[in-house]
Point group: C2
Chain length 335, copies 2
């Protein structure tokens, strides 16, 4: 296997959901590293909603994945051969690996893991990019304060789970929105949220939110957009903050949902702010140090949902948008 770098390449741009039909498998010989490069063996690949956006012709904030190119993805790998000072065989690294089994990458694309903070699964989960997204979204963007009432949508997802637990750790009252009874039970029983709303089981989301947040929502952490964001706007407290992190309900929607309650921003003095985690790149160490501390104190956990085999990656990407995962979705490429 060391002779072949298995790859999954983008074959066609989807208009709606992405799935196996938009990708093709390929292989090329493993390339020995040049000076400043390392050959690595991919262990885990992160599957994230933003990847669907990268498949569009114009993602808006990053270049698109080219047709015929290896699908862009972050993940965890083991160094096999290194011509990078400071990287040795068997070191664990993270980086923008792409959907491939044995990439040869420049040093700038790789970062050696500090295993004192957590193991490989922790680095893809509660120390990974999704967790950093939750951290900066809840603190800097959301302006979380003790005593706040916090609402998190997509709360059983990778970012949502961490955002909700950050709320609890910082002494907020936290309500999660998720699809299905099993996810909601997970949120209240295992993550200790104060309430969970199964959006699939109600046709009155505004009423369901107001029933558990009668004094209004101070921080809404939005992962889904669309009608859930609209309902949350109607339930905000005066001075409320909305961190717009994602809009998974809209990413592959044939027609965008029209938000009707944005005018509530005036009388309620709402601050609504979108963000991209990479803007906080200079503060990742700060975020990871806090997350690692929470992890060690037993106040932070993350359910991982791991699919086995590189070939599962396209199915995994589709699963995200159909709500099939509970927790952080990843693909295990090698042990």
């Amino acid at each position: 296997m060391r002779n072949a770098n298995r790859q999954i390449r983008l074959k066609a741009r989807p208009t709606g959901l992405a799935g196996p039909e938009h990708f093709e498998e390929a292989a090329e010989p493993v390339r020995p590293p040049a000076d400043g490069e390392a050959l690595v063996e991919t262990l885990l690949l992160s599957i994230d909603p933003a990847m669907r956006v990268w498949m569009n012709e114009n993602p808006g904030y990053v270049p698109p994945v080219p047709i015929g190119g290896v699908m862009r993805a972050g993940g965890i790998a083991r160094v096999l051969e290194s011509r990078v000072p400071g990287l040795e065989p068997d070191d664990l690294v993270q980086g923008r690996l792409g959907w491939q089994s044995h990439p040869t990458l420049a040093a700038a694309a790789l970062q050696k893991l500090d295993l004192a903070l957590g193991d490989a699964e922790a680095w893809i989960g509660p120390l990974g990019t999704s967790a950093l997204t939750a951290y900066f979204g809840m603190t800097t963007i959301g302006g979380l304060k003790p005593g706040d009432t916090v609402l998190v949508s997509g709360a059983a997802g990778a970012v949502g789970q961490i955002a909700a637990q950050i709320g609890k750790s910082r002494h907020a009252r936290v309500i999660g929105i998720a699809g299905g009874a099993e996810k909601c039970a997970f949120l209240t029983s295992e993550l200790g949220l104060d309430a969970a709303i199964d959006y699939k089981a109600t046709d009155n989301l505004i009423g369901a939110i107001k029933a558990v947040a009668p004094d209004g929502v101070d921080v809404y952490f939005d992962n889904v957009g669309g009608p859930t964001l609209d309902a949350a706007l109607a339930c905000m407290a005066v001075g409320g903050r909305i961190a717009i992190c994602g809009r998974i309900s809209q990413t592959a929607a044939p027609e965008l949902y029209g938000i009707r309650q944005l005018g509530q921003a005036i009388g309620k003095r709402l601050r609504i702010q979108g963000f991209v985690v990479s803007d906080f790149h200079d503060r990742y160490d700060e975020g990871r140090a806090w997350l690692a501390g929470e992890l060690k104190a037993g106040r932070l956990r993350q359910r991982l949902h791991i699919l086995d085999g590189l070939e599962q990656a396209p199915t995994g990407l589709r699963m995200l948008f159909e709500g099939g995962n509970t927790g952080k979705l990843a693909v295990r490429v090698s042990q």
Copy 2:
């Protein structure tokens, strides 16, 4: 006339636009002031979009005007009799006068005008609440910086005119949106804006904005909401700020418009913030001092649109929502 306090009272709550049919005229004897009160003669009454909201059963951030009550309004008056220390007959004051000719009001409702800053018309215009709204909206909420590209909707209106001129004064490039060629000519020829867009003359507002703001909009000052806000969202630059001041297109709309472009907030890292000027009450002196300085330097002007006679107030309120005014709308009750 000194014996009668003419009033206009709220007769019925409108569902759409407000107009004369929702009010009734009345008169009651002038009431001599008690200790801590002053009897005043109303000179000018401000007509503002927020007044339509106050007529609703649940305005959301202030109590509603009660049925049968005098319509709430701010304005400028002359003191006739005073039992308030520091207020003398012939002093000019501003305050929440209501739609009435000779109210007797508590000292707390009145503030003596500093005529060194400007005369009565200046105090209803470029030193008044609309101007303060523009000041705090552009600076604190909008985060205006030199070199920004600024877009102002309702730019020929009371708040919009001032917001646009603050942009110019602070070395921004300023584009105004208004309805009709006359208003647009006023914006570019008389107020010196860099461009004006007649929204009534285009069926492609996004294209019209992009044509004059090819690098995107850094600050959008929104007075109108609805489809204009949606178009502006599609034209924002990365890191853009939207100050949501009003939504006059939606205040009396039978059905709220659905905003489709809010998802742009993520990739563009937009900050969208609603506000109410009274939150800045403690900083009014700061705002007025700056505005007065601009006024004296000849960098700030405001076209007033004055209707003669208290009985014109209901018609004026309707005019605001039909776009009939250019500039700050006021009613002259007495010379």
